[in-house]
Structure formats: structure tokens, C-alpha cells
């Protein structure tokens, strides 16, 4: 199965806007696809994992570099 990866720019956005952007993209992606959000609000390190956990997705990587926070989400299987 082919999976796809997207990177989205959430710089300057404050929570919950990065979460909303992730949510909007995930809704158009398939299970197994991955999405990296590049953010400047450190709150994403809590909020994107929390949103992913309760909505059935998985954070597979987080990285902090030069004041930017990168969070990568693997899209879950959808409706349970």
C-alpha cells in the first residue's frame, strides 16, 4: 500500500489553530499517511498529541529545532 506524506506550515499560529490545520488535512488523508506540522507555538507539543490520541491517530515523531516545533502524525484507521 502506498502512503503519502505532507508537511504544513503552522508558523506564527497559536493553539488551537495548528491543531485545526492538522485536523483539516487529516480529514482529507488516508489511514497510514503521515503529516508533519511545522509550528512556532510550543503548546503544540501537548495539544497535537492530545488531539491525535482522542481521535485515533498517532504522533510518531516530535522535534524541536531553532525555535520551531515539528510534530508528525500518522493518520489512524478512521471511524471505529
Amino acid at each position: 500500500m502506498t502512503t503519502h506524506h505532507r508537511t504544513i506550515d503552522c508558523l506564527r499560529l497559536l493553539c488551537p489553530m495548528p491543531v485545526i490545520r492538522v485536523q483539516e488535512h487529516v480529514e482529507t488523508m488516508a489511514a497510514g499517511d503521515t503529516l508533519t506540522a511545522v509550528c512556532s507555538d510550543p503548546g503544540v507539543l501537548h495539544d497535537i498529541p492530545a488531539w491525535s490520541r482522542i481521535n485515533g491517530h498517532q504522533v510518531v515523531a516530535t522535534e524541536t529545532r531553532d525555535g520551531e516545533y515539528l510534530v508528525t502524525v500518522r493518520v489512524g484507521p478512521g471511524e471505529v
Binding site: 506564527r12 497559536l14 485545526i20 485536523q23 503548546g43 501537548h46 488531539w51 481521535n55
Partner: protein
């Protein structure tokens, strides 16, 4: 029960919506949550920006509530649609620019549209009769149902026994006897119920959930509208009202002056949208200029920024002025004395 009913709960992140959802969830109803982002939500933005606040852990309370309940949470961006609620509230404002009753109607209407599109059966809110002076008075509650077009598909589990029977009660999806009859401003019944469920670390109400209830904030918002000749804003505008000192020396421009390093970093992200002033000769803040300042205004702004720098006692300070296109020039000015700045300039 012939079907597995599904309900959508309005989740603000506070205790009431947590409890209301739990009460219904415990009766076997499938519950999901929805949270509307208006741009005015008090959701840790100042905390996210100001460096001095970052030592304290930050969380999104709506996500925390959903996590506690083990339910999905849908966060919806309503920034543009919400403007009409702020500009033209049918039922007027509260003490400041808070259109609380119209806001509740808007959110319940959006929730109604959501459940109709997805085959859910009813909507839950954490409203309590008599708890809020504007949106939760008993006579306001039928208005919310009528104007939102939801009628008896709106269940308020914490106050249901003070209110007429709703569809989920009549259909047997929930047992009215297991709902509550809370009323009034006391928080004790909710706190007791929270203790019963074992919820401990819930958000404490501290000045409301919306910046439109904040007098200082609404002074700045009113000033923004006045300066632009009409009631309009973009998301960046209302975010910037939460940051820095806002100083308006003249109708045609204002300064937004960072108060500390976190705000400097945040405002730096706007240097392609607003001309800026940065201290060169001394440590000091970054400032954005909003409006259409003349050359004399830019010099005045530089003197004001100098007044907030480490060079405030020096005869001259040097600043860098940058246009939105990135063109830079230097200014040498005498910092303004604190007593020379009229108090009315500081919004």
C-alpha cells in the same frame, strides 16, 4: 432502547461541559465533543507568547476534557463567521463587547448543523439556569433553542429537571431522573458532582472564557475599529491585541511595543505585515507600527520606543526602522521622558 443514540457536546474546556457530557455518556449515549475557535477564546495565548509564563505547564482545556471523557473532539475554526456575532448581536452586549446570548445561539446553531449533517440525534450543553447574567437566565434558554432552530433536541443535563422535557428524554435515550436540577450561581453542586466522578484537575473559571468580557481588551478592540473607520478585523488583528503595550499617539497610527523577549519573538513574525522599530544602541523592545505614520510620526514612535529601552536616560538612542518590504534605515532620537507621554496614549 431501539437505537444507539448519538449526541454532540459543546466542550468549552470548563467543568460544566465536562460534567454534562459525563452525565449523558454514563447513560450509554455515544458522545463526541465540539469546540468552536472564535479568535477571542482565552486559550493560553498570552501564556504561549510570554516567555516568563512558559515555566508553567500549558494545556488546551477542551482537549483535556475530551481526553478525560475518552471522546473525540472536533475543533472548528469559526473566526470569519463569528464576526457577524461580534458586530451585530441581536440581543446586545454584556458589560463589555461580549455578545454572550448571541454567541450561545451561534454555537448551538452550528452544532445543530453539524449533527444534521452527520446523523447525530441531539446536542448537549453545560448550561445551568441562572448561572450567567446574560446567556443562562431561565427566560433566555428557550430563545437559544428557538433561534438556533434546535427546539427540543438541546439537552442541558445539569439543569434538565428545571426545564421542559426534551426529545432525548421523551425517546427514552436518557432517563430524566438521572439528570440534574442545578440552578443559580453557586458552583458547589458542580464541584460535588466532579468529586463524585473523581475529576480533580479541571479548569478553574478565572475571568471567563472569552477576551470580549475583558475591559482592557475591548478598549483596544474599540480603538482598532475607530482607527479603521468601521467594525472589521482579521485574525492577526485580534491576536495582536493580546500582545504588548498598545500606544496611540495619533488617530493615523499606533505602536505595539513588546514587553519581554517572548513578545519580541512573537511580534518579529509580523515584520512583513507591519513596519517595525528595533533598538540598536541599547537593549530594548521591538515595536510594530500599525496605520499610516508620517516621517514625523515614525520619529515620535522611535522616541517612545526609546523610553522603554535601557537607553531611556541617555541623551540619544539609535533605532533601526524597517519597512514591510525589508528596507532599513537608522534614526537617532532623544528618548521620550516618561512624564511627557500623555496617559491617554496607552490603551
Amino acid at each position: 432502547m431501539s437505537k444507539h443514540p448519538k449526541a454532540l457536546a459543546l466542550i468549552s474546556g470548563g467543568l460544566d461541559s465536562l460534567l454534562a457530557s459525563k452525565v449523558v455518556q454514563d447513560q450509554g449515549v455515544h458522545v463526541e465533543g465540539i469546540n468552536f475557535f472564535t479568535g477571542f477564546c482565552v486559550e493560553g495565548h498570552t501564556h504561549a507568547i510570554r516567555k516568563q509564563d512558559r515555566a508553567r505547564p500549558k494545556r488546551n482545556n477542551a482537549l483535556w476534557v475530551a481526553d478525560q471523557l475518552g471522546i473525540k473532539l472536533h475543533i472548528v475554526d469559526v473566526v470569519d463567521e463569528y464576526k457577524q456575532v461580534v458586530f451585530n448581536p441581536k440581543y446586545g452586549y454584556g458589560a463589555h463587547l461580549n455578545p454572550c446570548l448571541d454567541c450561545k445561539i451561534f454555537m448551538v446553531r452550528k452544532a445543530r448543523e453539524w449533527i444534521e449533517q452527520r446523523g447525530f440525534d441531539f446536542v448537549i450543553t453545560g448550561e445551568v439556569v441562572g448561572q450567567r447574567p446574560k446567556s443562562q437566565r431561565k427566560h433566555a434558554m428557550p430563545l437559544v433553542q428557538r433561534d438556533a432552530g434546535i427546539d427540543d433536541r438541546l439537552l442541558r443535563p445539569l439543569s434538565a429537571r428545571n426545564l421542559p422535557e426534551t426529545l432525548p428524554e421523551r425517546m427514552g435515550w436518557v432517563d430524566r431522573d438521572k439528570l440534574h436540577g442545578f440552578s443559580g450561581r453557586s458552583r458547589k453542586p458542580q464541584m460535588a458532582l466532579a468529586a463524585l466522578y473523581g475529576f480533580e484537575d479541571y479548569a478553574q473559571p478565572a475571568g471567563g472564557c472569552c477576551f470580549l468580557t475583558d475591559g482592557n481588551y475591548t478598549v483596544k478592540l474599540t480603538d482598532l475599529w475607530k482607527s479603521r473607520g468601521g467594525r472589521r478585523y482579521e485574525l492577526d488583528d485580534i491576536m495582536l491585541l493580546k500582545v504588548g503595550r498598545h500606544i496611540r499617539p495619533a488617530p493615523n497610527f499606533k505602536l505595539i511595543v513588546a514587553r519581554e523577549e517572548g513578545e519580541v519573538n512573537f511580534l518579529s513574525g509580523y515584520r512583513r505585515l507591519f513596519p517595525s522599530l528595533k533598538m540598536v544602541s541599547h537593549s530594548g523592545p521591538l515595536a510594530l507600527l500599525d496605520g499610516e505614520p508620517t516621517a514625523a510620526d515614525i520619529e515620535l514612535a522611535a522616541r517612545i520606543v526609546g523610553r522603554y529601552s535601557q537607553g531611556r536616560a541617555a541623551p540619544l538612542v539609535e533605532l533601526e526602522y524597517a519597512t514591510t518590504g525589508g528596507e532599513k534605515s537608522r534614526l537617532r532620537v532623544a528618548p521620550m521622558c516618561a512624564d511627557d507621554m500623555p496617559k491617554g496614549w496607552l490603551l
